[in-house]
């Protein structure tokens, strides 16, 4: 069973072993509105925590996804390029953006859990 954490920028990351799966939260897709374009990172890209790693654009605006943890991108959900609306219909499931091999699990542990994230969105 994987563990899920959240960032202040409304991303989620599931950790399974040393591989994290990253997406945006239902709260984030609701704020964005209809998603019309997604850009995922190339496999093999090495990113530091906080780096711009993916892009999601809605009818209203463009938003960047920042890497929730440091690591190497090991898989990207290229299906989102053709079906960006999946981000609206299943943001916390099939519409994951990329998978990342973590360099430092402490970064993951320091992120918000579900309760803390809920409090963050209601602040």
């Amino acid at each position: 069973m994987s563990e899920r954490r959240y960032t202040e920028d409304h991303e989620w990351i599931d950790l399974d072993g040393e591989i994290g799966t990253v997406g945006i939260t239902d709260f984030a897709q609701e704020q964005l509105g209809e998603v019309v374009f997604v850009e995922v990172p190339d496999v093999g890209k090495v990113v530091a925590q906080g780096d711009e790693t993916a892009v999601v654009e809605s009818v209203k605006a463009a938003s960047e996804l920042y890497a929730p943890v440091t690591g190497e991108v090991v898989e990207a959900n290229t299906a989102l390029a053709d079906t960006p609306d999946l981000v609206n219909s299943d943001p916390e499931g099939d519409a994951w953006f990329y998978k990342i091999k973590l360099s430092d699990k402490d970064e993951f542990d320091a992120l918000m859990d579900a309760d803390a994230y809920k409090a963050h969105t209601e602040a």
Partner: protein, 365 residues
């Protein structure tokens, strides 16, 4: 947190009741979208009928026998050539030929009815009061409701049969469900439709009566923006401003033959010179080849990497089902079909100069 008090239109309570997401816009608390969302609202307007609150815009009446000639001193449009009930799109220009605001002018029996942008209205009114001899009345006690889409005629003529007799870009006073309104067949979505100037205290009831029809839905500013972009229409402060001339903005069509011959408006030397000799840059439509939208501020490059301009409005067109934009490029690259690149997040993405409107308009001429 301190906030400047936002103004409310007469339909504010209705927007809140309908579940609109309200945002500050030009000093007003306005609906950017309703629960249906921008895309659904946009498509509803293209296929059925959308109701927009545009009461934040400035409605001004100029009274006087020579009001048309009078206002011509500030705009390049041929207003004196308008028959009573006919309307025209024009713009206030400055001495450098730049655009201070764009406006709609309709000739009425004893003068002109003018509609200006919300963000510019105070400056526009001061400008007219300082420069014109006509009596200028700001219609503060009237709301403005736009009804747009292929079903607009059926929806409005059910309440005001005379609305069906108006053709595109004409207007008349008429009774709409008991309210004394000034109705024009115009709008800013590329669709057939109307703008209804209604007494403020009757606006809420009229909006509710229209919305009670199955095919009429309230539409927010978000969809208004994507609709006008697909229609190739300029948004003041973005696609046109004090640094762009009407010729550069591809609005030369709005300057009548007589005005080109006579001049007599601010910046006429610059504007007429550009009509004669060409302008250095031109507003064009742009279609990116891929799926990535290119937004306002995006650099436009020639295929060889030379910077040739920038995007002034851009996004995703729900009816076009593709990204689209408008912007300025140097005239040598302005021909429809020309290949250009748009630099999105550091990457030069291929795009083409395109004719506007991006989707066919539905005007009833």
């Amino acid at each position: 947190m301190t906030e400047t008090a936002l103004l409310k239109t007469p339909l504010h309570a209705l927007h809140v009741e309908l579940g609109a997401k309200m945002v500050p816009f030009a000093g007003y608390d306005m609906p950017v979208q309703y629960p249906a969302g921008v895309k659904a609202e946009h498509l509803h307007t293209r296929t059925r009928t959308g109701l927009f609150d545009v009461s934040h815009m400035g409605q001004v009446r100029l009274t006087g026998a020579d009001a048309a000639r009078d206002l011509e001193r500030l705009v390049p449009g041929d207003l004196d050539g308008l028959a009573i009930g006919q309307m025209r799109y024009s713009m206030f220009t400055n001495n450098e030929g730049g655009i201070l605001d764009d406006l709609m002018v309709c000739r009425i029996e004893d003068g002109l009815m003018v509609v200006v942008n919300a963000a510019c209205k105070d400056a526009d009114i001061a400008h007219m009061r300082a420069q014109l001899s006509s009596e200028i009345t700001v219609l503060e006690d009237r709301a403005l409701i736009a009804l747009q889409g292929p079903g607009a005629e059926a929806a409005l003529s059910a309440l005001a049969p005379a609305a069906a007799t108006l053709s595109f870009m004409t207007g008349a006073e008429m009774d709409v469900d008991g309210a004394a309104c000034f109705v024009t067949r115009s709008g800013y979505t590329g669709e057939d439709g109307y703008e209804i100037s209604v007494p403020a205290d009757q606006a809420d009831a009229l909006a509710r009566t229209l919305l009670a029809r199955n095919d009429v839905e309230a539409i927010g500013l978000g969809a208004r923006d994507s609709l006008r972009l697909e229609a190739g229409l300029c948004l003041y402060g973005h696609d046109i401003d004090e640094t762009t001339t009407p010729v550069e903005a591809a609005l030369t069509w709005s300057i009548g033959k007589r005005r080109r011959e006579e001049g007599g408006f601010p910046g006429a030397d610059v504007i007429l010179g550009q009509i004669k000799n060409g302008a250095p840059r031109k507003r064009v439509g742009i279609l990116p080849d891929g799926r990535a939208p290119a937004r306002e501020g995006t650099e436009i490059q020639a295929p060889d990497g030379t910077s040739i301009g920038s995007i002034t409005s851009g996004g995703f067109g729900p009816s076009l089902e593709a990204p689209l934009a408008m912007g300025y490029v140097t005239t040598e690259h302005a021909a429809a079909g020309s290949a250009v690149n748009v630099v999105v997040r550091g990457k030069a993405l291929p795009a083409k100069i395109a004719k506007m409107p991006f989707v066919p308009n539905g005007y009833k001429r």
